[in-house]
Symmetry: C2
């Protein structure tokens, strides 16, 4: 279960904004303009297909190498990191993302090409980092591409990468045309690699679907409230912080940053620059870093506190009193999980008292269902906020100029 509490002043929100947000999302879903709403149902076919593939290759393949960047890796990493501790017998996943030569060299040193399935993920099919790394892998590992069982492609139906896959008779999975990269984690992009690795993606999709149904039946209006509050106060609070209490949220935070930043940072229909700046923090670590700025710095941030009620690790702080260190004994015989939850609650209380707009998301525990729900929660929150900003939530026009400059640099 997930428990959502908005501690900010909901009385200040225009109730019409909730309706505007809800209607916009219903329209996007019903008109089929935006495809991610259907993924929890549609992607179930991939679970079956990828499970079959998993059983075929299970003996030879122990590693999956994802060659992809941005929306083609962040969501997979986020889910893997959250579910890995409770799913020990899964295949290793290696990510080749950045054009950084030091990283590429390091990741490659971890790959045994005979026992690795290479999954090339690119929605457009033309991502320059992904294609360059793929070419490098072909040469360095002397991969024979034609008819290879070890290379799998996930891309748009008619992309150049898909044509390349067909030309070489590679296994290929399709990202629906109406699903953008940063909304694609529950499409083949996430479901195929995670299923092959051994994660229970069926439950992930069921969790996502159940949250969606709950949202459509107006049982999750806290989400519409939050998006209305964020957008109507975007000039006062241009920064939205996610303060998540577990290292397992590190990649989830990066996924959220892409989703939020790239979807909302746009020109609106009047050509005005709008958007909200996402920041992902980890508790309790960032209590020793960023927290001071939240508490005493400018009141230009909202903060979402996220924590986990039941941890899979029940580590106890021992009943041990050390001379001169007795000051720490008040925690003796309590668990680290109690400590981190208490740190979250104490910090939240202190931040609220300082006048900051706060909301809280409590996970009963981390499992496939709750992770699926949380993915859909953030996607819906983003879509609702985009609708209220009156931007195109699903494109990314700003990053094209840099690509042109890059290509010109090498062509001249």
């Amino acid at each position: 279960m997930l428990y959502f509490t908005n501690h900010f002043d909901t009385a200040l929100i225009d109730p019409l904004l909730l309706e505007k947000g809800f209607e916009a999302l219903r329209y996007e879903a019903n008109s089929n303009q935006v495809g991610y709403y259907n993924l929890p149902v549609v992607s179930q076919a991939f679970v079956a297909e990828a499970s079959l593939l998993r059983s075929e290759i299970d003996k030879e393949i122990n590693t999956i190498a994802i060659i992809g960047i941005g929306g083609s890796s962040l969501g997979i990493k986020a889910i893997e990191r959250l579910l890995r501790p409770s799913t020990p017998n899964t295949k290793k996943i290696i990510y080749l993302e950045n054009s950084d030569p030091v990283s590429i060299q390091h990741e490659i040193s971890e790959i045994d090409p005979k026992r690795t399935l290479f999954i090339i993920v690119s929605k457009s099919g033309a991502t320059i980092e992904t294609l360059s790394i793929f070419k490098y892998l072909i040469v360095i590992f002397t991969l024979i591409v034609k008819d290879s069982e070890q290379i799998l492609v996930i891309s748009d139906e008619d992309s150049i990468l898909s044509r390349f896959a067909d030309e070489n008779h590679l296994r290929r999975f399709v990202i629906p045309h109406n699903v953008g990269g940063r909304f694609s984690v529950l499409s083949a992009v996430g479901i195929v690699p995670l299923t092959i690795a051994g994660f229970d993606t069926q439950k992930l999709l069921l969790g996502a679907q159940s949250f969606l149904e709950s949202f459509w039946s107006r049982k999750e209006d806290h989400l519409l409230q939050k998006s209305a509050y964020y957008v109507s106060n975007s000039e006062r609070f241009p920064i939205n912080v996610l303060f998540a209490y577990s290292d397992m949220f590190e990649e989830f935070g990066k996924w959220m940053v892409q989703l939020w930043g790239e979807s909302l940072g746009k020109r609106n229909r009047n050509g005005e620059r709008v958007g909200l700046t996402p920041i992902a923090l980890i508790g309790s670590v960032d209590q020793h870093s960023f927290l001071q700025l939240i508490i005493d710095g400018p009141l230009n941030k909202t903060v979402t506190f996220m924590h986990i009620a039941h941890s899979m690790e029940e580590l106890m702080i021992p009943k041990l009193s050390l001379k001169y260190l007795e000051k720490s004994d008040f925690l003796n015989d309590h668990s680290f999980n109690e400590l981190i939850n208490a740190q979250c609650m104490a910090t939240m209380q202190s931040v609220i008292e300082d006048g900051v707009s706060v909301d809280e998301i409590l996970w009963s525990q981390i499992n496939e269902q709750t992770v699926g729900k949380m993915v859909i929660y953030y996607e819906l929150l983003t879509s609702a906020s985009g609708a209220l900003f009156e931007v195109n939530t699903y494109d990314q026009p700003g990053v094209e100029l840099g690509k042109q400059i890059l290509a010109n640099h090498f062509k001249n």
Copy 2:
């Protein structure tokens, strides 16, 4: 070498602010109120002492476990990550930071207690995560603390942790009273563990010292310009982005975020909330994430582009043309290092054209000297900005309330 270029409009800066910043720093250093300015010289004694220790334990110990959080781990991690690829024969370093039970369990599974040196780092000596984890390690590994050669303490001279160390005859290193946690990486905090691990900390300190001397002789006024520009435009540009093009900057970015956020996010002498919000991004990865928001979102950010001219890995994109993927062939026979540098320059140009305030930091290469220089650069930039904001750059009063609430929670 490091090359600094301010692309923002320096003509708009009041030249008196440069003098105000410089004089404030000179006063802090000369009056000995702030101690980090002396560390490049003072800490050379630790290099000698820790080198000797290293040679004594070299055969038995292959792992260093740092038990510390915030200023007691971020700087060590930042330097380790940057220098690790070019310093292969160093001891493994494991960090026990967060009160997250899943992380603690995972890190502990990597430790062979017989071959590990445990270094407990806490300036105040009373950090609750650090003491709780230390107690857990004592029990789980049945460590005998008294007279242990395997436990080393780094703390303030008269902290409770230092008294505990003396009581048990443990090796102990002192953090000077006038050096704050987030400014302490060049004190024993960073120098002792990194020297024992096998890094050339002598060169690190020499690099830092040479930058300091250059700054004091007014050859680095670009730094004072930048701090004057940031502080005088803090309402227009409340967010400062560091866009660093290599995965090796991941931990450096977190170190910078603590330094900048916790030092400047304060009440000023009039009780007003001031501060600047730091964000650390990695290129090219975050070109596929946060960049859209910089380009089309609100113009409320400055951006520092950081990149490395010469990489230690000379990986070439092969001369390989694949049918349907010819679009990527313009990079054939170029190196990944050329690609990532060109991506940085192209993005920077595009961001400048969009009216964003930009500066550029180019590393000739990553080595001990340049890392030492960069550490001091960011510390000086922070101190100068704190002086112009008229805040106490070196305290963190805001985080105390949460600690009290936490203690009360368990005591009641």
